[in-house]
C-alpha cells in the first residue's frame, strides 16, 4: 500500500499506523512522524499548495522511498488551509519487516517532501503575517540522501 493524501481535514495518526499492519503478518516495524504547528511567536499559519502537482510530487517521493528500501507500505497525509498552534500538519508512516528500513524511509520521506512538495506556509504573528522562508538546513537534509 502506497497512499498519499492532501486534505484540509485533520487525520488520526493511530488509525493510519494501524491500517499499515492490521490483518498482516509480514510487518514487524512501523515508523511514523507527525509534524505539528509550533507556537512561540506565531498564533496560526496558513498552508497554500498547488493542487495536482502536490499529489504528484508526494507520489514521486513515496515511489522513490519504496524503490530504495524494502517496504511493506507507506502513508503520507499533508494538510492545507489555516492551522492553529498545536494542530497536526503532516503524517508519514512507513511499514517494513525490519526497523532500519522503516526508520530510514520515514526520515527520507520527511526530508524530501519538505523540498519537493509545493506547499507554502504563511505565519500569523502579533505583528502581522509573513511567508516562511525556505531553510538551507532543509536542502541539506534532503541532499544527504543523495550522497550514499
Amino acid at each position: 500500500m502506497i497512499e498519499v493524501r492532501v486534505q484540509r481535514e485533520d487525520f488520526d495518526p493511530g488509525a493510519e499506523i494501524e491500517r499499515l499492519h492490521a490483518g498482516r503478518d509480514d510487518v514487524g516495524a512501523v515508523a511514523s512522524f507527525v509534524g505539528l504547528v509550533r507556537g512561540g511567536a506565531i498564533a496560526a499559519m496558513t498552508l497554500e499548495h498547488y493542487p495536482g502537482m502536490t499529489e504528484r510530487q508526494l507520489r514521486r517521493v513515496a515511489d522513490a522511498a519504496a524503490a530504495r528500501w524494502p517496504l511493506e507500505g507507506l502513508i503520507v497525509v499533508h494538510r492545507f488551509g489555516r492551522l492553529a498552534v498545536g494542530e497536526r500538519i503532516v503524517l508519514v508512516a512507513v511499514a517494513a519487516s525490519h526497523r532500519a528500513a522503516a526508520f530510514e524511509a520515514c526520515a527520507f520521506l520527511m526530508d524530501w517532501l519538505k523540498t519537493q512538495a509545493p506547499f507554502w506556509k504563511r505565519e500569523e504573528t502579533r505583528d502581522g503575517s509573513r511567508w516562511v522562508e525556505a531553510k538551507a538546513a532543509d536542502d541539506a537534509a534532503a541532499a544527504r540522501w543523495l550522497e550514499e
Binding site: 519538505k114 509545493p118 511567508w131 522562508e133 531553510k135
Partner: protein, 84 residues
Amino acid sequence: MIELLYFAWVRERIGRDGERLALPDGVGTAAQLLDWLERRGPHYAAALAERDRLRIAVNQAFAPLDAPVKPGDEVAIFPPVTGG
C-alpha cells in the same frame, strides 16, 4: 495558449492566482517567459525581480529556468517550498 499559475508571495505581488495567455513571440524558455512577464507592469516586476528566489514548474514538475515552454503547457511560478 499557456496556463500560468502563481503561488504564495508571487501570487500576492502579481495580484492574481493565474492567467491564460498566448505564448508571446520569441518566448521559448521559462527564463524568456519571466523576462516577458516582468515587462508587463510594476506588479509583475515586483514579483519576478529576484530570480534566485523563484522556482518554476512546467506541467507540474520542477523545471530549471532554461526549460522549454510551448503552447499547451502549464507553467507555475512560486517561491521555494516550505511545507512539512
